[in-house]
Amino acid sequence: MKRRTVLAAATLLAGSFMAAQPGQAQDVTLEFVVWNYSLETIQDNIRQFEAENPGIKVNLTDYTWPDYQDSLILRIRGNTPTDVVYGGQDWLPAWGSAGFIAPLEDVAPKEEIEALAADVAGFARTDVTYDGKIYGLPYYADTISFIYNKKILADAGIAVPTTWEEVTAAAEKLKAGGMDKPIVYEYNQELPNFYDAFVAQAYGRGAELFDAELNPLFADPGNGAYQQLAWLADAWSKGLVQAETHESKIIPAMNTGQHAFTIVYTYVLAALNNVADQPRAGEFALAPMPGATHSTLGFAKSYVITRQAADDPERAVAAWKLVNFMAGKPYTVAKRWAVEKGLGFGQLPLFQDQDVIEAWGKWADVKELGAQAERARAGTYTEFSSVWSAYFRPLLAKAMVGEASVEQTMKDGAERWNQLKEQFASR
């Protein structure tokens, strides 16, 4: 009996010793949280990462895009293990301020991060920076584009519009010719991109929505954002606009040949011109955003590391390896997204990559695309901008369809911005 007890104790001791051996990195399991775009590609990227890093296992969790931020905030507030997540430019300051995520310099050498950031386009770098520190590396970086149907315009003898007034004139001409709704618009107030698309249009006019002290400027009737909302309300009232709730519905709608213009993320152009499944592939092109400056909104979605991962040395090292694999040199994963899915990228060297140039040449004028990226500007994002955007989007939607005046909408939006600014400053 005594011998058995000694044997059991020895076995237990041996077991615990083996478990405690240093360098057994297979003990590290990372929780990676994403929104559910192209999950099979993400899973394949993870498989490759795990093969290259045998010590690390990655569990993938996905949420739908509209519910992503809510789910993630509740997940982190609930202390659910979470290591690496997709971040959005509009959420990053709030997450950084709330301590949900950590600056990359907390998990990796600063020089290494700076070297990677040096390759990142200006607007994308702005989008991953909060309080002077870099919090993420780009998963993808893109612009919002004004897209038109070349064939429809050529058949109708209409030149590509360069101002919003010309867009109205072109749409009215097409409507008179029998096209019911020449413009198809992603109209979904629950999506952050609803606001982004509006900002992109205002940027086309050269608008500044906020000053350097983050005071709202858009309630001034002379501001381009104000004028753009008035333009949208006018286009709606003239029956020129067909509303669709998501970009995935814009693609088939544009491919019916019943619409000539739309304003969407640039990568949608890749789907529109996909010969494999779109009947009118090849008919679509992007033009500079109408307006005086032709600028547009550029933005970056990024891989960020949570504070809980950064505070655990083993997870921190593994999390940085994952981020570096997904977004770091030689930019294999970023290139894969660009070539296979048409996603934009923040890593500038990829603009010189022959595979990227060849792949993108199938659905876009790469030169035009590069010029647009150069003209693109980052948005204004603060700790409270995502909260404000959620408030403001339904007001915008209401004004577009003529249920509220442009003046009142912009006034209410500015008031709420100032309230939140004051509220945040008082905490």
Partner: protein, 292 residues
């Protein structure tokens, strides 16, 4: 002696404790939240008294949401009860295939709200929706009608979808009430009343009116607190055209991350619901549930 008096209370504890935990605690916590500034993305949770209530009531959304909820309730609840009663009366008849028809009528009941919403989106979709397709085939329209993107039409569309989802429950309960009527009464009525309407009004309705009242109250509350269909069909839009108070609770809490304001709206909804029930029951004859 005191132990004997406490004995029943102690036996009730296993039931009372979970109830208290599952209802009283969340309610108390929600009340506490409504009196504090609880914003998930802001640090701290300072006490703000009634500020959340005031801000919510003065907000752009509240007036619209309150009006929409009341109109939605006033439109949907009577529609569900009237249509449900008519369908129940029809399904009482014996005809070939009645069992199949009964099953089809009950179908919406087994569908979750989100799935019903998806079905109705496909009916009302402007480009490839069934309804616009049908209207085009009948040459009644040429282009497309924005059923879910035009503010007034979106509201009507959501009411239609809500009514569709709620009818089966009403049908089942009215059929149960009809089954409880003495067959001899109905036979006598068939001889005495030639008109179907008179037969319904003077013989059948008095027998089922208690059930009808219950259904009106139930449907008023269901409509007033409706959420899932609106969320999935229109997201409260366009603008605030289909924003109901229950949806506004979600928007304040999970879209603007202001749990204090969300809880304040929730308490306002509870208050209005209580007033609504009281108003409906007060408006009814006092002998309604008594033996006749």
């Amino acid at each position: 002696m005191w132990e004997i008096r406490r004995y029943p209370a102690l036996w009730l504890l296993p039931a009372l404790l979970p109830v208290a935990l599952m209802t009283l605690y969340p309610v108390a916590y929600a009340l506490w939240t409504s009196l504090h500034s609880v914003m998930l993305l802001f640090p701290g949770e300072p006490f703000v008294g009634l500020d959340n209530y005031l801000r919510v009531i003065q907000s752009n959304y509240f007036q619209d949401a309150l009006t929409n909820s009341l109109v939605f309730t006033a439109a949907a609840a009577p529609l569900v009860v009237v249509l449900g009663t008519l369908i129940a009366l029809f399904l009482r008849r014996r005809f070939f295939g009645v069992q199949v028809v009964r099953s089809i009528v009950l179908l919406p009941w087994v569908l979750p709200g989100a799935i019903s919403a998806v079905l109705w989106i496909w009916v009302f979709h402007p480009s490839f929706g069934v309804l616009n397709g049908l209207l085009r085939d009948l040459h009644l329209i040429e282009g497309s009608i924005g059923w879910l993107t035009s503010p007034r039409l979106a509201f009507v569309s959501v009411v239609v979808a809500h009514v569709w989802t709620q009818i089966p429950f009403t049908v089942v309960l009215v059929m149960a009430a009809l089954a409880a009527i003495n067959p001899e009464t109905l036979e006598a009525a068939a001889i005495d009343c030639k008109s179907s309407w008179r037969r319904f009004w003077y013989v059948i309705f008095p027998e089922i009116k208690a059930m009808i009242v219950v259904l009106i109250v139930y449907n008023a509350l269901t409509a007033f607190t409706s959420y899932d269909l609106v969320y999935a069909m229109t997201g409260g839009g366009p603008g605030t055209a289909t924003t109901l108070l229950s949806f506004q609770i979600w928007r304040e809490s999970f879209s603007m991350y202001d749990f204090g304001a969300g809880s304040a709206v929730a308490f306002i909804v509870v208050l209005i619901s209580a007033v609504l029930i009281l108003a409906i029951t007060r408006a009814l004859p006092s002998d309604l549930f008594g033996s006749e």
